[in-house]
């Protein structure tokens, strides 16, 4: 276990390395921050797209119009079979009269127009609500096609086309952002590991003497790991800060967008710290291995 003196020493050593190479440190944080900004941006857009999609799906409105001429009893008796369709969560019956009343309400002042009609032209219908997991375009289309074959059903209407388009876009974007994210991740790790390698090269003598006087590998490593993690931390904070600023500006014009939750921001920054850790770990292990074979 480390003693207090060792901890103080390690902390001082890591911070010294950090501030001694202010320029390198600054540049590293900026480069890595930019890379992470791109990453965060993609994640944020994907998140918003996902949310839009979810909202759109929740609003998917499947209306099943019944053929004319069924008596009220048979119409009401259709509820259990509708509920039995896989994916249907709720089925609300809307009689001809209710449909007319609804239309009247929507027309408001112009409701008088309806008085002129000889009879109620609106069909009775069922308003189906789909369970989550059955709300994507494919599932909705399948259910609709199924219902159309029922003899009692005249037509099924739902907002199919734009939902499918949105889903296609979201899918494309998810793949695109996954690829970009991977590239960015590799770049970020690379940038960090390069910086740590520079740091290690300039602390060659310290490392050599530490090893000579019996420092454990872990002890030799830790200042560089801490340095890498600090790089990640600051780069993550920079990326999040810039993104949050840009988002504020944008959301003034575009309503309905959402930023990361506080937990997600913390998670992202923590992830950046992890990247810093990985980058410096790679550099150190390589360095110690090379030293062994030298």
């Amino acid at each position: 276990m480390l003693r207090r003196g060792q901890l103080v020493y390690l902390a001082r050593e890591s911070l010294a390395g950090f501030s001694r190479r202010r320029l390198t440190t600054g540049v590293t944080i900026l480069i890595m921050g930019s890379a992470l900004l791109v990453l965060a941006l993609f994640v944020l857009v994907a998140l918003n797209l996902g949310m839009m999609l979810e909202r759109a799906r929740a609003g998917v409105d499947v209306r099943v119009f019944l053929v004319d001429g069924l008596d009220a009893e048979r119409q009401a008796a259709l509820q259990p079979p509708f509920l039995a369709v896989p994916g249907v969560q709720a089925a609300r019956y809307i009689s001809k009269e209710q449909a007319l009343a609804e239309l009247q309400r929507e027309l408001g002042d112009e409701a008088g127009l309806l008085e002129t009609l000889p009879e109620n032209p609106l069909p009775a219908s069922y308003h189906l609500e789909l369970a989550p997991g059955h709300r994507d375009a494919d599932a909705v289309a399948r259910i609709a096609a199924d219902l159309r074959r029922w003899p009692e059903v005249d037509d099924v209407v739902f907002s199919q086309i734009w939902l499918a388009a949105l889903e296609n876009w979201a899918e494309l974007f998810r793949w695109g952002s996954l690829i970009v994210s991977l590239v960015v991740l590799v770049a970020a790790v690379f940038v960090i590991s390069n910086t740590v390698r520079l740091t290690m090269a300039s602390s060659r003598r310290v490392i050599e003497i530490q090893i000579l006087v019996g420092a454990t590998d872990g002890f030799v490593r830790s200042p560089f790991l801490i340095e890498g993690m600090l790089h990640g931390l600051f780069a993550g904070i920079v990326a999040m800060g810039v993104l949050a600023g840009g988002f504020r500006l944008l959301s003034l014009r575009l309503a309905g967008l959402e930023f990361f939750s506080l937990g997600q921001v913390a998670g992202f920054v923590l992830f950046c710290v992890l990247l810093g850790f990985l980058g410096s770990m790679a550099a150190i292990s390589q360095y110690l291995r090379l030293r062994k074979t030298a």
Partner: protein
């Protein structure tokens, strides 16, 4: 840790602090050491000599287990090279001090920090760090210059800082690899005298040099390495009057402080 080491050649004499048993060391295709066998007891002062590249440094690096023999065994403080886990190496190194020809001080740190650093690395309690640093820096006569940076010191002073650094963890063994190689004879003699004083207080000192002038002034055990073989290992016990004169006595008007 101090279990009595037993190896293929039988149990070790408990006084033996360093034992080489038929050590062969191969560097790629080169045979750096071949069938080297010797043992060094607690508190000895041993001079290893021989031409440059004969294998002196390899012997020292085998002792710190920075290298491992391709054949045979090295035993240091009861730790056997063939049964040494990587994790235990740091513990071995804490019992060994090392001094180099080129000092290897940390140029951006004060003298005090150069020495204290070693204590911090091994996790000495904070209260003891200052005490120990003060003790060794006083011993080498540099406590007054503790706030200087290495480049503000003369070569001899820098080597004394290096020795203080090697001694601050109170090692049982001090390895000095050509410690006088970069120094003028007066300063070299000072360093040698300092190493003798350290030996007097019980630390085993192993001193490597290719300089015959220095070897001739010694009355101690001298091992001669040539082409990777131990060609001579003599306990000289030369009485003081028969030794070559000290390096300083041959100097024309010896100076007091060679910077």
């Amino acid at each position: 840790m101090a279990d009595i080491a037993v190896n293929r050649w039988g149990p070790l004499d408990p006084r033996v602090i360093i034992g080489f048993f038929h050590v062969q060391l191969r560097y790629r295709d080169q045979l750096a050491l071949d069938d080297v066998t010797f043992s060094i007891s607690n508190g000895e002062f041993v001079c290893i000599t021989g031409p440059s590249g004969a294998g002196k440094s390899s012997i020292l690096r085998l002792i710190t287990m920075d290298l491992f023999p391709t054949q045979g065994q090295v035993v240091v403080r009861g730790m056997v090279s063939t049964r040494m886990g990587r994790r235990r190496i740091p513990h071995l190194r804490r019992e060994i001090g090392f001094v180099f020809q080129d000092f290897r001080l940390l140029e951006d740190r004060r003298v005090y920090d150069n020495v204290a650093f070693v204590q911090l690395v091994v996790g000495a309690p904070q209260a003891q760090v200052k005490k120990n640093v003060m003790r060794v820096l006083t011993q080498v006569g540099l406590w007054d210059k503790r706030d200087r940076l290495p480049h503000e010191l003369s070569g001899g002073e820098q080597q004394r800082v290096a020795i203080a650094r090697a001694m601050v963890n109170s090692p049982k063994i001090l390895l000095a690899d050509e410690p006088t190689g970069n120094l003028d004879p007066v300063t070299a003699q000072e360093i040698i005298d300092l190493l003798f004083r350290i030996n007097d207080s019980g630390t085993c000192v192993i001193f490597s040099t290719h300089d015959h002038e220095i070897v001739k002034t010694f009355g101690q055990r001298v091992m001669v390495i040539q082409d990777g073989r131990l060609v001579s290992d003599q306990e000289r016990r030369i009485p003081e009057r028969d030794r070559a004169p000290r390096l300083t006595e041959r100097m024309y008007q010896p100076g007091q402080d060679h910077a």
